[in-house]
């Protein structure tokens, strides 16, 4: 009885996840048929004309995530080194609890703070570059950086703490300073875990929806000539998630091509976050285990 129920409920979970994946593939078929590969490569999103290309949204998602990583990873690693290598165990637990609370703050609250504080700050600080508004890719990136910071800290701290303390003692016994021990003994051995923290944080950043929606500007078809243009960071943009959560989702249902284009975005997002998460999870495992 217990065994049957376990199997039954587990299969239900597996079937649901299979259904989810199946639906996202199947329901996006019309747009693939309609657009072919240009759905992936082109920057055009005019739903009244039935023209769909996701490039500017993939660009937006990648750029805000990269900005977030560039800002959050150094700070997160630094903070993790502090909690793991400098704090006594009890204090470390307390600090980790506080940082995990920070991780739990809902995206909509970050978004609200972004609207109140960050938007104007970005607009004023980068006035010289004449942004049209404070709702920019950069604003979303900075906000995301704050949101993923706790993820980076927690995972990196776990990775650093996993190195046996005998290694620390042996290095200190040779006369190495704490900093030398950290850089030559601890960090090289924790490298995989530190890398995993970046990938898992990337997965979170790409999938974060509400906060990004509120500050990114939601401007369709904004793709700069060069992917490396920094000025473009100060333009409004659109990410995959900000498009998916917009009211277009309600409009699109019923028009199979438009709906396919929306679901297709979900599928692309699923592939991007899935890759980051799975590679990151794989990285956290021991090389030989």
């Amino acid at each position: 009885m217990t065994k049957t129920l376990s199997w039954l409920f587990s299969l239900l979970a597996v079937a649901t996840m299979g259904l989810l994946l199946g639906i996202f593939i199947w329901q996006s078929v019309p747009v693939w048929k309609h657009e072919g590969w240009s759905y992936l490569w082109e920057k055009k999103w005019y739903f009244r004309q039935h023209e769909f290309g996701v490039m500017s949204m993939v660009y937006g998602t990648l750029i805000v995530s990269i900005i977030a990583l560039v800002l959050a990873v150094p700070v997160g690693w630094g903070a993790a080194v502090f909690t793991s290598e400098y704090l006594p165990r009890r204090v470390r637990m307390a600090v980790k609890i506080l940082i995990e609370l920070l991780a739990g703050v809902p995206g909509v609250i970050y978004g609200l703070l972004g609207i109140l504080l960050l938007r104007d700050w970005v607009y004023d600080t980068f006035e010289a570059f004449e942004p049209l508004s404070g709702d920019t890719l950069l604003t979303a990136g900075i906000l995301l950086a704050v949101m993923i910071l706790p993820t980076v800290v927690t995972l990196s701290d776990d990775a650093l703490r996993a190195i046996p303390s005998a290694q620390r003692l042996a290095a200190r016994g040779l006369g190495l300073t704490r900093a030398e021990t950290i850089f030559s003994v601890i960090i090289p051995q924790a490298a995989r875990g530190l890398g995993a923290s970046v990938l898992l944080a990337l997965g979170r950043a790409m999938g974060e929806t509400t906060a990004v929606f509120l500050v990114v500007g939601r401007q369709d078809n904004n793709l700069p000539d060069s992917w490396f243009s920094l000025r473009a960071w100060l333009d409004s943009g659109q990410t995959i998630t900000s498009k998916l959560v917009s009211s277009e989702t309600n409009i699109a249902y019923g028009d199979s091509i438009h709906w396919g284009a929306m679901v297709g975005l979900g599928l692309i997002l699923l592939v991007m976050t899935g890759a980051a998460t799975l590679v990151g999870t794989f990285f956290t495992r021991k090389p030989h285990a």
């Binding site: 217990t2 065994k3 129920l5 376990s6 199997w7 039954l8 409920f9 587990s10 979970a13 597996v14 996840m17 259904l19 989810l20 639906i23 996202f24 329901q27 700070v75 997160g76 630094g78 903070a79 080194v81 502090f82 909690t83 290598e85 600090v95 506080l98 940082i99 609370l101 920070l102 739990g104 703050v105 809902p106 995206g107 909509v108 609250i109 978004g111 609200l112 704050v146 706790p150 300073t177 900093a179 030398e180 850089f183 999938g207 929806t209 509400t210 509120l214 998630t241 998916l244 959560v245 989702t249 679901v263 979900g266 997002l269 699923l270 976050t273 899935g274 980051a276 799975l278 999870t281």
Partner: protein
């Protein structure tokens, strides 16, 4: 030189940690300072009036609690089943490892993807329209990995001697599961659920197409076409709209209540988590 580098490293690391904590402190400070004035008894007991500019958030709070309770009730049996699969029924290490990887993968799925999935299957195909049950079920999917992993860790921590002792008494496999494994690990289920619900409480993306509307709903009496109000969606809508001072103070008040709810749920999970941690250290 070596001493200098040592000091600089310590200083930079300290500054990074301080920055992370200052962000938390600053965030809480801003929300409390702006939202505090809106908090009153009436704020919790009245319904919204004038598009959020007056009244309170009674039905938003009730709606969010209904969604959370549903998510808890729907995810618990599945989590127990999956955790038992991993700890008891699956024999090969490969299939266990696939199950765990699958859970991590689900945990990485963006919540908006679940939201769209619920919109297609429950709202459209099942014809429920916006429904509290649809929202609750989708939130259950969001929190399922958190609950399951917490339960699995708790199960793993149960010493083999208890299982052996129970088997020695002649208990059957499923009797052992109920009398030993689940009895000793329900704390893991609660901890995981609290952590999951802390995350679910603030989510907008999974419920905005499936369960929640901005105004005009109270207690749902059916499944079909029975939306609820909710706290995060309330904030989400008001944040995009006017900054009419009246709305503003109610908006920040709602944010403060939501933050309080989320923090209470995470902190309630803390004692069990710390105990597991201590045991892992000393046991």
């Amino acid at each position: 030189m070596r001493k200098f580098l040592d000091a600089v490293t310590a200083l930079i690391a300290f500054a990074c940690a301080l920055l992370a904590l200052a962000l938390l402190g600053g965030l809480v400070y801003v929300i409390v300072q702006k939202g505090g004035p809106a908090i009153s008894w009436g704020f919790f007991t009245e319904q919204i009036r004038l598009v959020g500019a007056a009244g309170g958030i009674f039905w938003n709070l009730i709606g969010t609690l209904i969604l959370l309770l549903t998510a808890f009730l729907a995810s618990a049996p599945i989590a127990i089943a999956l955790a038992l699969m991993e700890r008891v029924w699956l024999k090969s290490e490969t299939s266990r490892s696939i199950l765990r990887t699958g859970l991590y993968a689900i945990n990485g799925v963006p919540s908006i993807v679940f939201g769209i999935f619920g919109f297609i299957v429950l709202v459209q195909w099942c014809g429920w329209g916006k429904s509290w049950l649809a929202g609750g079920l989708i939130l259950a999917m969001v929190i399922l990995p958190t609950v399951t992993v917490a339960l699995m860790e708790r199960l793993k921590a149960i010493p083999a001697k208890y299982v052996e002792a129970a088997a020695g008494l002649g208990l059957s496999r499923s009797q052992i599961i109920w009398a030993v494994l689940l009895r000793q690990s329900w704390g893991g289920l609660i901890t995981g659920s609290l952590l999951g619900l802390a995350r679910a409480a603030g989510e907008v993306a999974p419920i905005m197409f499936t369960a929640t509307i901005f105004a005009g709903a109270a207690m749902p009496h059916a499944i079909k076409e029975s939306p609820v109000l909710s706290l995060p969606y309330h904030i989400f809508i008001l944040a995009q709209d006017s900054f009419d001072p009246g709305v503003g103070s109610k908006l920040w008040g709602s944010a403060l209540v939501l933050l309080g709810l989320v923090f209470s749920l995470s902190l309630a999970a803390l004692p069990t988590r710390l105990r597991i941690h201590e045991e892992a250290h000393h046991g």
